[in-house]
């Protein structure tokens, strides 16, 4: 594996934050030969590892199908997690059942792991009447409170401050609860990262701030995001300990997150985790990354595909096989097909529903506006 190509972005020279997962301060468990480093091994049961692998495959297949659906014009948009599955699943797995997740927008794998149903997710992708968000938001902007998973919005970083406030409230209430917040490395430049980390540091909130450093913010590479040595190192500014882990190593992510949860839960305050990973696909279905990055670097990272690496471990331990793999893939594929078919048959949200939930109760002006719309020509079609 050519190391330099893992870190090259082709952007301006000068000092830049490292993307190298082999740097000395980076927590690693899964070795290139598929064995685990006993010094850092989080010691998972075989069942757990297999279940996580299965879920990662599920997420991978789902991602691919959604891109296809978008290309076919059946859904409007998808923003995926290709290559970032270990970071997302490992961190979600490490959380305790009472803990909460505050998502960015690539973590549908975590929501599904925590109990969001596939149907509910697919309904959101279609924005139909079954979507818990009532088709009000774009695809991948779902809501899954039952999974202790926050509401997704597009503005970058806003969940960071909210996640800090949420955990702070739990602390005020003396509840044993940790809130993990997901965000990309681009979001560290937002006002919100600064506010969220600063308040969390001062009030020692039980938070894990989980930065998916996937190398890119759309077309902007990490060295245009910050001149900091690392993203984890930004914690210094807030008195928040920072750790880095190999984000494509499921075990390393689990190790780092578990330790962080233990730290936060014990009253010692928040932890900032930087998971070194890579966005293998374009930013979203709207993006073509060929315009701004080199294929070789992407190829180098494909060699570090978290699924491939985990499979090597499973193979070494004889926990998985090609037969199981194809069985799983067909099962998952069928599930997705069914969910899509169901979603496509569901109606659009009703015209009336457009006016609900702006306020708890409909005020006079929304009653008027609703009546106007319902008296219009389009209402007849509904």
């Amino acid at each position: 594996m050519a190391q330099p190509s893992l870190t090259e972005t082709g952007a301006s020279a000068g000092h830049s934050p490292s993307l190298d997962p082999n740097a000395s301060d980076v927590i690693r468990v899964l070795r290139d030969d598929g064995t685990l480093d006993p010094a850092t091994d989080p010691k998972l049961s075989d069942d757990a590892v297999v279940a996580l692998f299965q879920h990662m495959v599920f997420v991978r297949v789902l991602d691919e199908r959604l891109v296809t659906l978008q290309r076919q014009g059946r859904i409007g948009f998808h923003i995926g997690s290709l290559g970032e599955e270990a970071a997302i699943l490992g961190s979600a797995f490490a959380m305790r059942s009472q803990d909460w997740l505050f998502p960015c927008y690539r973590e549908f794998g975590a929501a599904l792991w925590r109990g969001m149903t596939l149907q509910s997710y697919i309904d959101n992708m279609f924005g139909n009447a079954g979507d818990p968000a009532h088709g009000r938001q774009m695809p991948d902007h779902y809501t899954a409170r039952a999974a202790k998973f926050g509401s997704i919005s597009s503005p970058i970083g806003t969940q960071i401050t909210q996640g800090a406030g949420f955990a702070w409230a739990a602390k005020i209430k003396r509840d044993d609860l940790v809130a993990l917040v997901y965000f990309g490395e681009g979001a560290t430049s937002s006002n919100e990262f600064h506010n969220g980390l600063n308040f969390a540091g001062v009030f020692k909130t039980p938070n894990v701030f989980f930065c998916r450093n996937n190398g890119w913010a759309i077309s902007v590479p990490v060295e245009r995001q910050t001149a900091s040595e690392t993203f984890a190192g930004k914690g210094v500014a807030y008195g928040v300990p920072g750790v880095r882990c190999d984000g494509n190593d499921l075990f390393a992510v689990i190790k780092a997150t578990r330790d962080a949860v233990a730290h936060a839960a014990s009253g010692k305050g928040p932890v900032l985790i930087e998971a070194l990973t890579y966005r293998l696909s374009g930013h979203s279905t709207s993006d073509d990354p060929k315009a701004y990055r080199k294929d070789e670097v992407v190829e180098a990272w494909k060699q570090r595909d978290p699924l491939v690496r985990l499979r090597k471990y499973l193979d070494g331990r004889s926990l998985w096989s090609d037969a199981l793999q194809s069985e799983l893939e067909s099962k998952v594929d069928a599930e997705i097909k069914t969910a899509v078919a169901v979603a496509e048959k569901k109606p659009q949200p009703s015209l009336e529903s457009m006016f609900d939930d702006v306020f708890a109760e409909l005020p006079w002006h929304l009653k008027e506006q609703r009546a106007q719309l319902l008296a219009g020509v389009r209402a007849k079609g509904h």
Partner: protein, 324 residues
Amino acid sequence: MTQMNMVQAINSALRHEMKRDDRVVVLGEDVGKVGGVFRVTQGLFDEFGDDRVIDTPLSEGGIIGCAIGMALYGLVPVPEIQFSDFIFPAYDQIVSELAKFRYRSGGEYPSKLVIRTPVGGGIRGGHYHSQSPESLFIHVAGLKVVCPSNPHDAKGLLLASIRDPDPVLFFEPKRIYRAAKGDVPDEDYTVPIGKAAISREGKHVTMIAWGAMLYEALAAADQAAEQGVDCEVIDLRTLWPVDIDTIIESVKKTGRVVVVHEAPKTCGFGAELIALINEKAFLHLEAPPVRVTGFDTPFPYTLENEYLPLAHRILPAVLETARY
């Protein structure tokens, strides 16, 4: 009943509700030990402690962003923004997040909190301690906006705001923080959100005002009365959702309208009121509705009493409207 000024009334509402409901927390810059730069939260720190009356770092975005998170958890935060001029670093959290949370999550995540903030001019505060940004929040679907003009309403509206299921911007007219005094019930009561008050009945001209400018409208009404013009003065109390019925009823009676506000004229709330009146009472209008407002300039320091729509600027507008 106790005689109180606005500061005391708001303080007593906070104290009352914090005792009654342990989900209520107060946070902001200097709200703790020192009790706020206007002393509105004075004594709360000693009574409720550091967990519920919280001095924060200097970041409005942090205050509101965290308050939203607290609200998602189930607390009822009442953050203070030291001056409403300094609310803009938190504007994104308010308009993109707070206002849309219930809607975008299909009702799963209501985010209920009350933002208290001093508003308006008249304390020699210049550009950045005098502004009235209410229309910048009224335009944003999902927010309620309140502005009391007297101690009784201040307490009752604040209690109603804290108990309301939706996010509320609670603007406190700082010019009358200490000047407006009145009897305030000691017991629990609310002034309903969405209901205006008729501060003065009259039949010739409908004046619409709120907050500190209510007194200027009333003063102008007194002077107009000497010239035979009988004004009805409506104190909106809730700016949004506005009490349209009270307004339209009055306009149907008078046919003439003067709206008074401190904010700059263009795209101020006065414009919305006039557009609504056109929609709902067009045939009753006997004169063009008039706005007497702050000018479309930044808020000036030395000339603030020329900038503000004080009685001497309201009166000619009223007389002209009445005689149109």
